[in-house]
Symmetry: C2
Subunit: 438 residues, 2 copies
Amino acid sequence: MTPQDRVHDAYARLARGERPEAWITLRAEEDVLADAAALEQRLAAGELLPLAGSLLAVKDNIDVAGLPTTAACPEYAYLPERSAPAVRRLVDAGALVLGKTNLDQFATGLVGTRSPYGAVRDVRDPARVSGGSSSGSAVVVALGIADLALGTDTAGSGRVPAAYQGVVGVKPTRGLVPTDGVVPACRSFDCVTVFARTLGDARQAMSIMSEPAGRPWPADAPLAAPPAPVVAVPDRDELVGMSGPWLDAFEQAAQALVKAGARLRPIRLAPFLAAAKLLYGGGFVAERYAAVGAFLDGHPATADPTVAGIITAARDVPAHVLVADTERLERLREQAMAEWGDADALLLPTAPVHPTIAQVAADPVGVNALVGTYTNFCNLFDLAAVAVPAGEVEGGHFGVQVIARGFADAVAADVAALILDEPAPAPPTGGLPLLVIG
Amino acid sequence: MTPQDRVHDAYARLARGERPEAWITLRAEEDVLADAAALEQRLAAGELLPLAGSLLAVKDNIDVAGLPTTAACPEYAYLPERSAPAVRRLVDAGALVLGKTNLDQFATGLVGTRSPYGAVRDVRDPARVSGGSSSGSAVVVALGIADLALGTDTAGSGRVPAAYQGVVGVKPTRGLVPTDGVVPACRSFDCVTVFARTLGDARQAMSIMSEPAGRPWPADAPLAAPPAPVVAVPDRDELVGMSGPWLDAFEQAAQALVKAGARLRPIRLAPFLAAAKLLYGGGFVAERYAAVGAFLDGHPATADPTVAGIITAARDVPAHVLVADTERLERLREQAMAEWGDADALLLPTAPVHPTIAQVAADPVGVNALVGTYTNFCNLFDLAAVAVPAGEVEGGHFGVQVIARGFADAVAADVAALILDEPAPAPPTGGLPLLVIG
């Protein structure tokens, strides 16, 4: 299929109207076709474009030149002149932007329901949430409309919806992908992520987006997992909040690793779970107020009530609490990394439950906190993670995440590949060295 | 002189009673003599001790096992069981601890007057302040009683008293010397420093204290200044708050660099001076509240009123202000480093004025802020600095600081040596490799 054929195909699918709430701004088909025609000219001229014709959706807290950035708050919207580097690099490599996707407002949430553009529903079961905050991005990839979609991940927003929608979500080490042109959620911890249907596609996009990295790679960053990686896996009784079938599904994912040659060892999660609670329960939430609090104070009627409640409550958190939490986080990180020891990676469920929209409506903050149990600590501890599908449970997708140390992104992806049993990605078309891209 | 002879000599000088307010805890002579006797046995047994018999004073916010740590607040005092690593490493290398020195309470101040143990006076002119907060440490080195003295430096506390007392003060890159066993002032920015009468002695002590470093050295950390270093030097009209004779003295120091082969180039100080104001004027002061605020709330009568006023006022600073200041600091750092360009070092006066005790009493906060004009930004920007004497002005010592990028500590010291025209230090006695020490 030529790029123009792919665009035609996507808009035919869009015309069916599946999950329309996944989009905030959809480009006119003729505009995307014009981009595709230009792309075909570049290809005809001999340009090597590793993503030629890949259809890209962009979470609507990431700037795309000429399309409004709303962060799911219409009154907040602005029209950026430049695309975020993450977007620009993918487009330079041949991706075609379809539009901007729905999200939990200001990327504050893990459910996908906190948006005036509509609660984004699960692709399989419309009674369940899509997961968030990168709700629309995960859904349009799961529907097969987009090949790649950008998300962001502070508390788990690039992983939870991947798990619920049965797609791959790659959350890089903090800072590797520049966050310029991204509406900050909790600026110290925000990451740009990517969703795809295969790990190979997600890795390729991530390598393009992180070159050059926004943060220097250390000289000892591992380039691959060792042949028989040691993977830390918590016992069943460490996994709070999960039902029996979910625990069984998790154990099956761990056994898939064993079959692929990994060595498992147990790990206690207490310091990880304690840190997870710091993200919303203490001083760090003040970063959300610093980002958009003044706007919300001035536009009280425009916000999602749950989001506004969380962010404006952070106005009065004292700075010394943030300082104390920062120190506490440092101690928890030391404890957690002592638990981690010499493991190459940590295997965890991506989320402990998959709630319905009704359950979230009944307890918006409590259910959201439960959903983030296993994702919230990741950026606080400066870790990399890859969320992959791991079978089904109770008629829905089950997902796990492989977590690695900061800058060990390749280790996380290699171990995740063992669960997927996906063939190694082919070398990029035309053998284009990645450093030339973007 | 044997170590015991040196101890006898120091206690004879102490008996003269010069600047007794420089000390908070002075060890009994017989205890230090016992240490000296033990040291002589180690030397007789063939141990190689590069600091054998060096007399060491320790600022009283740094733990020495068995001596109370007061931080200049008697009610805060505790008796540490272990010495701080900085102290332990020097003692292991042969230094003999004489006692603990006076300071601006909780290391909050640059003047030396904020202590219930007495305002520490300048060695030459008792009407002037010693400088602080490491007041006693600088004074006992200037008096020739101690060979080495430890200080700390958050806003300039390891440099300002060096300038006023005509000694060398080395402030390493943040984190190179562990801050365990140090009462935090503003924890993100605190550094352990050393005072000595020669740069060679100070560098030797610093290399012992920073091995192993509390923060990993990057692979590209420079080991020396280039032969003809480029030194950024502000023009006279950039130097706010200084009188004509002080400006002349500064220009003479710059000319000394030229004579020694350095190339000067101008630099604008606006982003540096703007950052300096953030240390006390915004959110960062909440770190001081986080460190000792709860203690001060519970013991309102025990604190120095100026110190308590600064710290307890930080109780109500909102966290979002700290977040915004952190982001503002990042932007100012980018601007400052753009001004810095390819310079190897930056030459600045250590302080713009040398106030009298009466001037400080009349305006404790304002005069202190003026004193810190050229030192406050250093740790905020993660820079290294070496303060050295640079002649005299108006009957007092004049001092300059050579500032280098983080981890370019050797560059700062090498450029500072050009001003001092001090011979290169001899290799350590016995040729002991430094990595064996501590």
